[in-house]
C-alpha cells in the first residue's frame, strides 16, 4: 500500500490560476519546454558532427522539470541534474552558453573544465552537479541550513534520480533535513532506468516518495509528464518549506525516452514501454492541454515554435564562435582566491 500522496492532474485553466500561473506564464512554460527539447535535439546533431567531445546526455521525457523551476522563487537555489535541462532553461541560462558547454568552449558555464550538463550559473541560483549522484542532495540541504541559520525565507531544491536513491547520501541528506525541518524540497526524477537497471533492482517499495514518511515529512508522487501537476506540487512543497513546514519529497514519474547517454540505444527497455510513454510526451500533452483549456491558437503555436527555432539557430552559431580554452589557463582556479568570495552570496 502506498504511503505517499498521489497528486491529481490539473483539469482547468481556473485551477492553474489558483496554483499561481496566468495564461502568459503558461505560454512561457510551453516555450521553455520546447527550448529544452530543442537544445537537446540540437545537441544530438552537434554530437554526430563530432563537435561534442566525450559523451552526451539528455533528459527527453523529463521536460516537465520546467514546472519545478517555475515554482521556485527568485532567491531560491537548486542543484539540477543531467536530466533537468528544463531547470537551467527556466532559470534563464542562455542557450548559446549551453551549446558552448557541450562543446567544451570558454563561454560554457564551466569554461571547458567540465562537460555536458555538469554546469550551472550560480548567479541564477543553481549549483553545478557532479557525477557521483546524489552527492548534491547533502549540498542542497546545506544551502537550506544556511537559510535556516540566517532565518531567510529561501528554499533549496535538490534533485536526484531513482537510481541515486539507493546511495547513502540520499538517506543522510533526507534524515538531516527531516531532523532539522530544513527548507528543502527533494525532487526525484524517477525515469525508471538507472542506465540499464530497472526500478525493481534499485528499491523494493512501491514508490520512493513513500520513504518521506520515514524521515518525518511528506512524500508526493506526481505524474512527471504533466508539467502543470509538477508545477503545482513543487509550488506547494516550496511554499510549505518557505513557511517553516519542513522538507517534502516529490517523486516525478516519467520515462527516460533515450539511452543513458548517446552511445546507449536502450535495447533493454521494452519497446511497448517506449510506445506507452510516447503517448504521454510531456510537451505534446501540454500543447494539447493549452489548445483545449487556454485557447492556444495555430498562430500562437507557430510563433512560439519559430521563435524557439530562431533562438537556437542563433545560439548554435554563437556557441561555435566561442573559442576553445587556452592550455595556458589549465591551472587557473584550482584554488579560489579571496576575490572569489566577492559575490552577493558571500557578502
Amino acid at each position: 500500500m502506498a504511503i505517499a500522496r498521489e497528486a491529481e492532474p490539473i483539469g482547468s485553466l481556473k485551477e492553474v490560476r489558483e496554483a499561481g500561473l496566468d495564461r502568459d506564464d503558461l505560454l512561457e512554460v510551453y516555450r521553455k519546454m520546447l527550448t529544452t527539447r530543442g537544445i537537446e535535439e540540437r545537441g544530438h546533431i552537434l554530437y554526430r558532427q563530432g563537435k561534442i567531445p566525450g559523451s552526451f546526455y539528455t533528459g527527453r521525457g523529463n521536460e516537465a522539470s520546467v514546472g519545478v523551476a517555475t515554482a521556485m522563487g527568485p532567491d531560491d537555489v537548486g542543484t539540477p541534474l543531467h536530466r533537468d535541462m528544463g531547470v537551467h532553461v527556466a532559470r534563464g541560462v542562455e542557450p548559446w552558453r549551453i551549446f558552448a558547454q557541450y562543446m567544451g568552449r570558454v563561454d560554457g558555464p564551466t569554461k571547458g573544465r567540465d562537460g555536458n550538463v555538469h554546469m550551472a550559473d550560480s548567479r541564477l541560483g543553481l549549483i553545478a552537479m557532479v557525477s557521483h549522484l546524489p552527492a548534491m542532495l547533502p549540498v542542497a540541504v546545506g544551502c537550506a541550513l544556511a537559510f535556516r541559520i540566517r532565518e531567510e525565507k529561501r528554499v533549496a531544491v535538490g534533485w536526484f534520480g531513482e537510481g541515486a536513491s539507493a546511495r547513502g547520501d540520499t538517506h543522510e541528506a533526507m534524515n538531516f533535513a527531516g531532523v532539522r525541518r530544513l527548507p528543502v524540497v527533494f525532487v526525484c526524477d524517477n525515469n525508471q532506468w538507472a542506465y540499464s537497471t530497472p526500478t525493481h533492482l534499485e528499491y523494493a517499495t512501491e514508490n520512493l516518495a513513500g520513504r518521506a514518511e520515514a524521515y518525518g515529512f511528506e512524500g508526493v508522487v506526481v505524474d512527471g509528464t504533466d508539467v502543470l501537476a509538477v508545477y503545482r506540487e513543487a509550488r506547494r512543497a516550496i511554499e510549505k518549506a518557505r513557511e517553516g513546514g519542513g522538507p517534502t519529497l516529490l517523486e516525478c514519474l516519467t520515462l527516460r525516452m533515450e539511452g543513458h547517454a548517446v552511445h546507449d540505444d536502450a535495447f533493454y527497455v521494452p519497446k511497448e514501454m517506449f510506445e506507452e510513454w510516447a503517448r504521454n510526451d510531456p510537451i505534446e500533452r501540454f500543447r494539447a492541454w493549452l489548445r483545449e483549456n487556454a485557447d492556444l491558437s495555430d498562430d500562437e503555436e507557430g510563433e512560439i515554435a519559430s521563435g524557439v527555432k530562431r533562438l537556437l539557430a542563433d545560439a548554435m552559431r554563437r556557441a561555435e564562435e566561442s573559442p576553445e580554452p587556452d592550455p595556458a589557463t589549465l591551472l587557473d582556479g584550482v584554488y579560489a582566491s579571496p576575490e572569489d568570495l566577492d559575490t552577493p552570496h558571500h557578502k
Binding site: S122, M136, L145, I149, F176
Partner: protein, 322 residues
C-alpha cells in the same frame, strides 16, 4: 600572552572567530550539548545558540556536504569530525564536490573540517590514523597540521578565512600535553609557510604534527646541536622552498611522519629533495614513518608502530655517520 594548551588554543581561536564573524558556525557529532568528544567546543552552545553550534546526526556525508552548501550560500562552516578516521565517510563530499567546485564551476567552497588525528593512546585502527597524505594528493584541498599552540590558533583562523576547503588535522596527543604562551590578539599564519622548530647545521629533519616533538627529543639526545627541525605546519600547500634551503645548508635530510610509509607525504618530500637538491646531498634521504599496517590497539604493538624517539635517534646517527 597567556599559557594555553594546544586544545585551548584551538578552542580560543574558534570562539574568537565565531564572536567576530556571524557567518562562522560549528557542526558535528556531539559538539553542542556535550562540547565535543575532546571538549573543544565546550560552552559554545550556551554562548552562540543551537543554530550556530549544531549537533548533527551521525552523518559525516551530510555534515561535510551540508557545510559545502552552506558555504556556497555565504556561510563559513567549521565541521568537526569526531575522529579524523571518520573523514573516510565524507570522502566524496570533500574530494568529489568541495575540492573541484572552484575549478570546474567557479564556485568557491570556504569550509574548514577539523580532524582530531593521530595515535599514542590505544585508540586502535579507527581512532588513531593520520590521513593527511590521502588528502594532500587532492588538488583543490588544503591540509593543515599544526604542532604548537601558537600555530594551532593562527592556522585555524587562517583556515576559516581561506576561500578553499581546508582540512585541519589537530593531533590528539598534543591536545593537553603541549602548553605554551599564545598571543592574546587575533593573528593569522599563512598556509604553506614552514617554521624552523630547531636550528642546526648538519641534518635537516622535515616533519609536522606530534612528530615535531619526537624529532626534538631525538635531536636533544643526540646532543650535538647538529639537527635542524623544519615543522611544515601545512602539507598542502607545503613549503618546498624552506625545506630545500635547509637541505642545501645541512646536506642531509630525514623525513619523518606518523602516517604509514608507502605513498605517505614523506615520499613526496623525499622525491622533491632528490629532484631538486641532489647535488647538495651528502647522504641518501632517510625516511622514518609508521610501517604499512593498520594502527594496532595493544600499547606494545602501537609503540612498535608509531615512530619513537629511539627510531629517530637511530636514523640521525645513521646520517651522522654516513
Amino acid at each position: 600572552m597567556a599559557e594555553m594548551t594546544y586544545l585551548q588554543a584551538i578552542s580560543d581561536a574558534l570562539r574568537g572567530e565565531m564572536r567576530r564573524d556571524k557567518r562562522v558556525f560549528v557542526i558535528g557529532e556531539d559538539v553542542g550539548v556535550y562540547g565535543g568528544a575532546f571538549k573543544v567546543t565546550l560552552g559554545f552552545q550556551e554562548e552562540f545558540g543551537a543554530w550556530r553550534v549544531i549537533d548533527a546526526p551521525l552523518s559525516e556525508t551530510a555534515i561535510v556536504g551540508g557545510c559545502t552548501g552552506a558555504a556556497m550560500m555565504g556561510m563559513r562552516p567549521v565541521a568537526e569530525m569526531q575522529f579524523a578516521d571518520f573523514i573516510s565517510c565524507a570522502w566524496d563530499q570533500l574530494v568529489t564536490v568541495a575540492a573541484k567546485q572552484r575549478y570546474r564551476a567557479g564556485t568557491p567552497v570556504p569550509i574548514t573540517v577539523r580532524l582530531p588525528s593521530g595515535g599514542g593512546f590505544s585508540g586502535g585502527p579507527f581512532h588513531s590514523q593520520n590521513p593527511e597524505s590521502s588528502f594532500a594528493h587532492i588538488p583543490g584541498l588544503k591540509c593543515v597540521c599544526p604542532a604548537t599552540p601558537e600555530d594551532a590558533k593562527g592556522l585555524l583562523i587562517s583556515a576559516i578565512e581561506d576561500p578553499n576547503p581546508v582540512l585541519y588535522f589537530e593531533h590528539k596527543h598534543l591536545y593537553r600535553r603541549i602548553k605554551t604562551e599564545v598571543p592574546d590578539e587575533r593573528y593569522t599564519i599563512p598556509l604553506g609557510k614552514a617554521r624552523t622548530h630547531l636550528e642546526g647545521n648538519e641534518i635537516t629533519v622535515v616533519t609536522w604534527g606530534a612528530m615535531v616533538y619526537t624529532a626534538e627529543e631525538a635531536a636533544r639526545e643526540l646532543g650535538d646541536g647538529s639537527v635542524e627541525i623544519i615543522d611544515l605546519r601545512t602539507v598542502l600547500p607545503w613549503d618546498k622552498k624552506a625545506v630545500l634551503e635547509s637541505v642545501r645548508k645541512t646536506s642531509k635530510a630525514l623525513v619523518l611522519h606518523e602516517d604509514t610509509r608507502t605513498g605517505g607525504f614523506g615520499a613526496e618530500i623525499a622525491a622533491t629533495i632528490a629532484e631538486e637538491a641532489f647535488e647538495d646531498l651528502d647522504a641518501p634521504v632517510k625516511r622514518i614513518a609508521a610501517p604499512d599496517a593498520p594502527v594496532p590497539f595493544s600499547p606494545k604493538l602501537e609503540k612498535a608502530f608509531i615512530p619513537q624517539v629511539e627510531d629517530v635517534l637511530a636514523g640521525l646517527r645513521e646520517l651522522t655517520e654516513y
